[in-house]
């Protein structure tokens, strides 16, 4: 065995590693542009961007107060008649006409793009009804110490009328959601009440009773009428200006549709109104 190849310089050195060229790995300048002249379309004024008509789905939310003990007692010529427990009536109007209010809660947007979300269950509209508290109503028609004591005072033969509450029951029409009134009457030895819808009162008076006297200020419109007469208002934000003032587009209710009365849902259509501005509170 010869080992001449160990002599220095005789044996060639091995060929080492050659890395591949990287000339074509990155060869363009790292420049880019976002946005340019083309294509271009005219911007739309902020308020013009909102739709003329909006349709939303809302949900009825009746407000029922606590159980109350309200007595109605008639006195006539020194004689009292058996009190009537106002909110324990078993009649349809007596049982369902005791709500303190009715809210319309936002469910969803059906038609129209506002560019922003309205929170679900936000209150769009609240209709309040007049109810009676935990009191005893005493209705007198007496002559005491040669003085005539009447209810209401100074009304000879006057028939007082108060608000019982709002009417609502499942599957009822929005037109039926309205104020219920009551008028105390004497039935034999008992005090009784006569119940009447506000719309009927407004239309016919107190059943042609010229002595009926309305004891409280209350609304005679029903919920459906309120919607149709534009009482439900939606203020959609257009934006905030350079001074921090909020600009809003007003939408007023125009019509409603109850596709399924048992669902408590109602579709409400709004029309675009005027826009307005006001200072926003600081966040």
């Amino acid at each position: 065995m010869n080992f001449h190849h160990t002599s220095k310089g005789i044996r060639p050195f091995p060929i080492g590693y050659s890395a591949m060229s990287t000339e074509r790995v990155n060869h363009d300048p790292p420049l880019f542009q976002i946005g340019s002249v083309k294509p271009f379309s005219n911007p739309i004024p902020a308020q013009a961007a909102l739709p003329k008509i909006l349709t939303i789905k809302a949900k009825l939310h009746p407000l029922k107060g606590d159980d109350k003990r309200t007595e109605i007692v008639m006195f006539r010529q020194g004689r009292s008649f058996t009190p009537y427990m106002l909110y324990q009536s078993k009649s349809d109007m007596g049982e369902n006409g005791l709500y303190e209010g009715m809210q319309l809660l936002f469910e969803s947007l059906i038609e129209g793009n506002l560019g922003a979300d309205i929170p679900v269950n936000s209150v769009l509209f609240e209709k309040r009804f007049v109810t009676q508290g935990n009191i005893t109503h005493t209705i007198r028609q007496d002559l005491i110490d040669k003085k005539v004591i009447t209810t209401p005072p100074g009304t000879e033969h006057g028939k007082p009328v108060w608000g019982l509450g709002g009417y609502y029951k499942d599957s009822c029409s929005l037109d039926q959601i309205e104020q219920i009134l009551f008028m105390p009457i004497i039935d034999g030895i008992k005090t009784e009440v006569f119940l009447i819808r506000a719309s009927v009162w407004a239309k016919e008076g107190a059943l042609s009773n010229p002595h009926a006297v309305l004891m409280e200020e209350l609304s005679f419109s029903n919920l459906g009428g309120d919607i149709e007469t534009g009482k439900v208002v939606l203020n959609v934000s257009i934006g905030v200006d350079e001074n921090g003032n909020g600009h809003f587009q007003k939408y007023t209710s125009l019509a409603f549709k109850q596709n399924d009365p048992s669902s408590r849902c109602v579709e409400i259509t709004f029309k675009k109104g005027e826009n307005h501005a006001h200072r926003l509170p600081r966040a």
Binding site: M1, P30, I34, A46, V240, D241, P281
Partner: protein
């Protein structure tokens, strides 16, 4: 004096009877095993010579010396009517195993480096590349050892044994004046990552949020996922690509008068149906993200240059001879500090290769440094034990300086009916120094390099004691040197925004009604445009960096003769 042939089996040695050796020649040169040629009777050669044999020389006083042990090779040659010649080699049957075993012990750091070898090359001689040593086979015992070029294990003084007129002194190959090394390493520097540009763009807008009166154009042209970044007329091979992208309009917080984010413009007058009308435009605000993946793969080639000089007594007296070694390392990609490194040699591992290369250069100088050849004859009895692993000292007035110590490079033992003579050749180094700095303790390698401080400069030192100055200030200059250390702001070279909402608004006031009827149409002249320039990641065929080692010491072989 008699010469005997013994049959050498596994555990059994017995003389071959009735055999006569007429002539015997045993010779060996460095890097070779020994050969024995025997001239015997033709019939003996054909019938009696064993396959494995030992040759024993017996003095007249009966003392026996083992001269050779080996295996028969080839067929009888020079056959005449009565005589024939047969040849034996001292190469043992397990030569390869022995060689590998010895080589394994020599794979020591700084003296052995696989980056210098072809992958898979298991040649044992690789371990000698950086050493001033050779493998040496013993002709009598068949073992291999490491033998230094200059110093044998033993020194014999044969001054009084040299046969008259046999001493010859000659000049062999001219020693190398210097060895110049160019050692290169190649790798692909690799780095990649991701960055989110969105906030860098947004903060160039008023209120540090993207806002515009022309959102449609901005949204349409906002980069999409997988988009490559680059000028529109290019292949967009810039090294950047969109991996996440979002541009989402949102309503900024209402914070009153302190910090207002208006979502509509002040009133702007334009003609509507021929009548001037005050309108407000929507000012759109955006949030989002724009994540880019980036990569930088750059081929790098780094070359270390140095020249190691040799000082010799012949310097200036003979024509200088230089040598250049070009060493190309194997792949260093797994040896880098990290894959993004822009330098290999400026690292601890790189320094190890430099030290190894210096040792290789030194080994080349050493290999050429035994330029004086001395040849002489002595009675065989005086040299019967001499091997290639020995040095011989001679004093003679025929030698310049009167004496010399040389390493045995070749010998021939000749036994004929007329006598027994040993002819020996020595290799002698004419170094300039009394003691070479190459004098390492035998069988002790340095585990790692050392360093020293000279003239307030850090120097490194090879195991052979060759110094070189620290070179770590010779860092690469081209390309991205430390891509792993890049931060977001390093990538952003320029972000220009033109036509933000406030600029657009001002433009409408200055150029709209009454100067022009269609105030809103003026917006086409000032769209929102974002210009971005990022860190240039363009790569080149390769980036080459050169490191020059300074302050390299001069190496000298031992001064074995005074010329």
């Amino acid at each position: 004096m008699k010469t005997y042939l013994f049959k050498t089996d596994h555990d059994n040695t017995c003389p071959v009877e009735d055999i006569k050796i007429f002539n015997l020649s045993i010779s060996q040169r460095e890097n070779e095993t020994a050969f024995a040629k025997l001239v015997m009777r033709r019939d003996d050669v054909l019938s009696k010579v064993p396959l494995y044999a030992s040759i024993v020389f017996e003095e007249q006083n009966g003392q026996k010396h083992l001269l050779f042990k080996g295996r028969r090779i080839g067929f009888p040659r020079q056959m005449s009517e009565h005589l024939a010649e047969i040849e034996y080699t001292s190469e043992p049957d397990d030569a390869n195993r022995q060689l590998k075993s010895l080589a394994e012990t020599l794979k020591q750091p700084l003296f052995y480096d696989e980056l210098f070898l072809t992958p898979g090359d298991e040649n044992p001689t690789n371990v000698l590349e950086a050493r001033s040593d050779l493998f040496s086979w013993d002709r009598r015992f068949g073992n291999v050892t490491l033998s230094n070029l200059f110093d044998g294990n033993r020194i014999f003084d044969l001054s009084n044994d040299i046969l008259s007129n046999s001493l010859k002194l000659s000049l062999g190959d001219t020693p190398l004046d210097s060895v110049t090394v160019e050692m290169s390493a190649e790798w692909i520097q690799k780095a990649e990552g991701q960055l989110n540009l969105f906030h860098q763009i947004a903060k160039r807008f008023p209120k540090r949020m993207i806002n515009t009166l022309t959102p449609d154009q901005l949204v349409k042209q906002w980069p999409k996922v997988f988009d490559k970044i680059g000028p529109s007329a290019s292949l967009k091979q810039s090294g950047y690509q969109v991996v996440q992208s979002k541009l989402k309009p949102f309503i900024p917080p209402t914070t009153g008068i302190l910090d207002i984010y208006p979502t509509i413009t002040p009133p702007i007058t334009t003609l509507v149906d021929g009548q001037p009308e005050s309108i407000r435009l929507k000012r759109s605000w955006f949030k989002g993200e724009l994540w880019l993946y980036w990569h930088y793969f750059q081929k790098r080639r780094e070359v270390v240059h140095f020249t190691l000089h040799q000082s010799s007594q012949l310097k200036g007296r003979i024509r200088a001879r230089q040598k250049t070694l070009r060493l190309q390392l194997q792949s260093v990609e797994n040896e880098l500090v990290n894959s993004a490194s822009s330098s290999f040699f400026i690292s601890e591992r790189g320094r190890q290769t430099i030290i190894h290369a210096i040792e290789i250069a030194k080994a080349h100088l050493a290999g050429s440094s035994r330029c004086i050849e001395i040849e002489f004859e002595v009675p065989l009895l005086s040299a019967v034990d001499i091997t290639l692993n020995d040095s011989i000292h001679i004093k003679s007035d025929k030698i310049p300086g009167g004496e010399v110590t040389g390493k045995v490079t070749e010998y021939n033992f000749s036994i004929t009916p007329s006598g027994a003579i040993a002819r020996i050749r020595l290799g002698v180094a004419a170094g300039a120094k009394e003691n070479s700095i190459d004098l390492l303790p035998k069988d002790e390698g340095y585990a790692q390099e050392d360093y020293c401080v000279e003239n307030n400069q850090t120097c490194f030192m090879t195991p052979s004691g060759i110094r070189f100055k620290a070179y770590h200030n010779q860092t690469p200059k081209e390309g991205i040197l430390n891509p792993d250390g890049l931060r977001l702001h390093d990538f952003i070279k320029r972000v220009d925004v033109k036509g933000d909402a406030e600029s657009q608004c001002r433009y409408l006031y200055e150029n709209g009604y009454p100067a022009r009827e269609n105030t809103l149409g003026c917006l086409s002249e000032i769209p929102t445009v974002i210009d971005v320039e990022l860190l240039d990641l363009r790569t080149k065929d390769r980036l080459e960096h050169h490191i020059h080692l300074d302050g390299l010491g001069t190496w000298s072989a031992p001064r074995q003769i005074d010329l």
